[in-house]
Amino acid sequence: MTKEKLNQNNSVGVVKTQSFTFDFLKLESGQKFGPITLAYETYGILNKEKTNAAFIVHALSGDAHAAGVHEGQNNPGWWDDLIGPGKAFDTDKYFVICSNILGGCKGSTGPSSINPKTNKPYALDFPLFSINDIVNAQVHLIDHLGIDKLLTVSGGSMGGQQVLSWLINHPNRIHSAIPIATTAKHSPQQIAFNEVGRQAIMADEHWKSGNYYDGTTPSKGLAVARMIGHITYMSDSSMAEKFGRAKKGSAEPFKFTADFEVEGYLRYRGDNFVKRFDANSYLYITKAMDNFDASEGKPLEKVLSGIKTKVLVISFKSDWLYPAYQSKEIVKACKLAGLETTYCEIDSTYGHDAFLLEVEEETHLIKHFLKKIFYAYEVTGEYGA
């Protein structure tokens, strides 16, 4: 089925972002921080037993709007291809939740939110937070929704890091975990790319140590950070296919205009990104990704042992930002720890972006995996007991 068809026939329709506020969260650093608001969306219906909830966790630049459309807008959510009636996360069967992360800038409390103590944006007064903190905040949300145990938690890239955090720190709150195109810890190469992005932001004269909210934003720096990001999300062959060496036409040569299609594309992506994303959020979130180590220095299999959660790990052949070997390390640890695990490296040329684009393959894997978990759950009451 083509992407267009999937979209047209099976949308969850018009959706609204909701929000939930709780008093405080004890961060891993020891600091108590609050109040915290999380923006979230839900699709489908929570069953009476509250056993059909799937939690979707987003990547670096994502938000709570994972599926459907907002009133009066045309852009579907970032994972609309996978969430909806009959899709991988079938909203006829499952209740799907997605929330904007702590530290984000799309409705959840982050550096651009107003600090109630000063009535000004937090900026760099916002505390450093970790992936585990992000997940601990999500636990508050599912408590609020009255869900004891999620059917699954799933996400790609940084979303995958959150999935691993759920798996290791809250195994009793999830029946299954689907980490996609992710890693248990960033390699120096991944940290390096993030650092270049951060340096681009901080080198922007408008950044002003994060205090830019009443003036010009460091949009040049943030755009460059996003451009670097986009290069790492694509593969050599997907770029070649998408742009080739095609030129944009009328531009005069040798004046450093965007001559090539790929240059125009990156500039467009960068310029678009600054309209919807906060530079300080970018700094904080990339730092949380870099600092994340799922097993905190211990062997991963040690922290996984004794866990009964079922795991589906997915990677993509051409993903060089989160290469398959990193997923295989997760799988290896699951093997050693005796977790029931399925692993598939999808044959894709899209690079890291594949987790948003390889709809058919992901749908097949996730749909059947969830069916197995949910069906066994329905039959036995408590799966994995």
Binding site: K328, K335, L336, T341, T342, Y343, E345, E361, H368
Partner: protein
């Protein structure tokens, strides 16, 4: 049930009969997962498969199986000693590069190992070699020389003497043709040998 039993391919039926109920099973080169599925259904086994072909993986997942996408030649090192009751290599031994390494690993990881392979000394293969002077194509060796995934060609005797040489216990072995067990001169008349071994 009886109907279903009849439809199961004979090599799978033989392996099913070798596996004790409620065992843990690792199927190396599980393909589309038909055997693993039967082991779980009929023997209440806890099963894990390893398969290199992604299309086969999708079929396994559709059957609700746990599978790892990977190469058997390098995929066993992570498993702890004796972590499975059975490790199965059905129709995959002859297709892997490092037979000895994989067999040793399988014997380390599994309490018992079940190996099923096509018998190269089957009389029809011998006949084709001897009279026609051609590389054999038979029911259990269905490929032309230019398209075969098989890297190793062995007979039932070969495997028996290998086990003897390497001090591997042969707990039992069953030789089969198309439809029946072959007890008379199996190295000549059987198409497939299935060995239950341990170390």
């Amino acid at each position: 049930m009886n109907m279903a039993r009849k439809e199961v391919q004979l090599d799978r039926r033989v392996i099913l009969d070798l596996v004790k109920p409620q065992s843990s099973v690792l199927d190396l080169g599980c393909g589309t997962g038909d055997l693993l599925y039967l082991l779980i259904k009929e023997k209440q086994a806890r099963g894990q498969g390893i398969e290199i072909d992604d299309q086969a993986i999708y079929k396994c997942v559709a059957k609700g199986l746990n599978v790892f996408h990977g190469d058997i030649d390098s995929g066993l090192a992570e498993f702890a000693d004796k972590s499975f009751d059975y490790v199965i290599l059905n129709q995959s031994l002859q297709q892997i590069y490092h037979v000895e390494k994989v067999l040793n690993d399988a014997l380390r990881v599994g309490k018992k190992v079940i190996v099923g392979f096509p018998n190269f000394a089957y009389y029809k293969a011998r006949r084709q070699m001897f009279f026609n002077g051609r590389a054999p194509v038979t029911g259990s060796l269905p490929y032309q020389w230019y398209e075969t995934p098989n890297l190793h060609f062995l007979s039932i005797y070969d495997f028996r003497s290998y086990c003897c040489l390497k001090e591997i216990n042969i707990e039992s072995y069953i030789c089969i043709g198309d439809k029946y067990r072959i007890k008379f001169l199996p190295n000549l008349f059987a198409q497939v040998g299935i060995f239950l071994i341990s170390k």
